[in-house]
Symmetry: C2
Subunit: 155 residues, 2 copies
């Protein structure tokens, strides 16, 4: 099954923006992800609507972070992306009136809800700030203590 990579992708983008002074264009972000600028804009649209980032058109335009990283959790981001489906397995509903199907779907449905709840709660316990601090620790560990302008995560 094909897995939705939007969350992973947008976090990569946000961390990059946090390291960068000034706006970043969709084209730069797209190159970083080996994808298309339009895909970047589509993903970022949700974050813009929530006010987490800002986009500016024209010369020296692009995307800028406009939020406090310590106040945004991964579940906020997940929600801004439109809460894509979490589970790759699900219930069939071929015979809605069938008691057997109802039995199965109720049992599985309870398990699935519990799992989704855990996922959201775990995502809610991680802030972007925590990820950013983790990134800096990795940069130091790699010995990449140059200034950020020509930082070592060109990707």
């Amino acid at each position: 099954m094909r897995r939705d990579g939007k969350l992973s992708r947008v976090l990569h983008i946000l961390l990059h923006m946090a390291e960068h002074k000034g706006p970043v264009t969709s084209e730069v972000l797209a190159k970083m992800q080996h994808t298309n600028p339009v895909v970047v804009r589509q993903i970022m649209a949700g974050l813009r609507n929530q006010g987490y980032v800002q986009s500016v058109k024209g010369h020296s335009g692009g995307w800028t972070l406009v939020c406090d990283l310590s106040r945004i959790t991964l579940s906020d981001i997940y929600t801004a992306l439109g809460s894509p489906s979490i589970l790759a397995i699900g219930n069939r509903t071929e015979a809605p009136g069938c008691l057997v199907e109802q039995t199965v779907n109720t049992a599985l449905g309870q398990v699935f809800s519990e799992v989704e709840e855990l996922l959201l709660s775990r995502l809610g316990s991680v802030t972007l700030d925590m990820l950013s601090k983790d990134l800096h620790a990795r940069l130091v560990a790699r010995g990449a203590s140059h200034n950020h302008q020509q930082s070592s995560h060109a990707c």
Copy 2:
């Protein structure tokens, strides 16, 4: 993303078989699920390999349960199906050397593992027997206390 419905499907099949004396053909099971007999055989192959069901060819052949329902959990079934992917969201690996990507993937990876662990543990806590008892409770609740031969879950 398209969700894998094998687990839901195979549980429906197993509960049906539990209600039925004697072998059931793939064709009957397929009609019940509004699908194709070949799909049923493919799904059931995994269960047969684990010894949970038996298949017999030719006249009055078909599928039979050959296990104690109280000793088989939903996670056993899930495993017999080949442990299909659980999560619909995942990490991208466009830039494996990138520290940003490593940071993001590590954080998400931990969450994902925890979630998968919970799912397997919850599936492991439900036996087929429990589902079967639940089904009977529903049959009684509907007032379908006729004999099982012409039971009300024709689907």
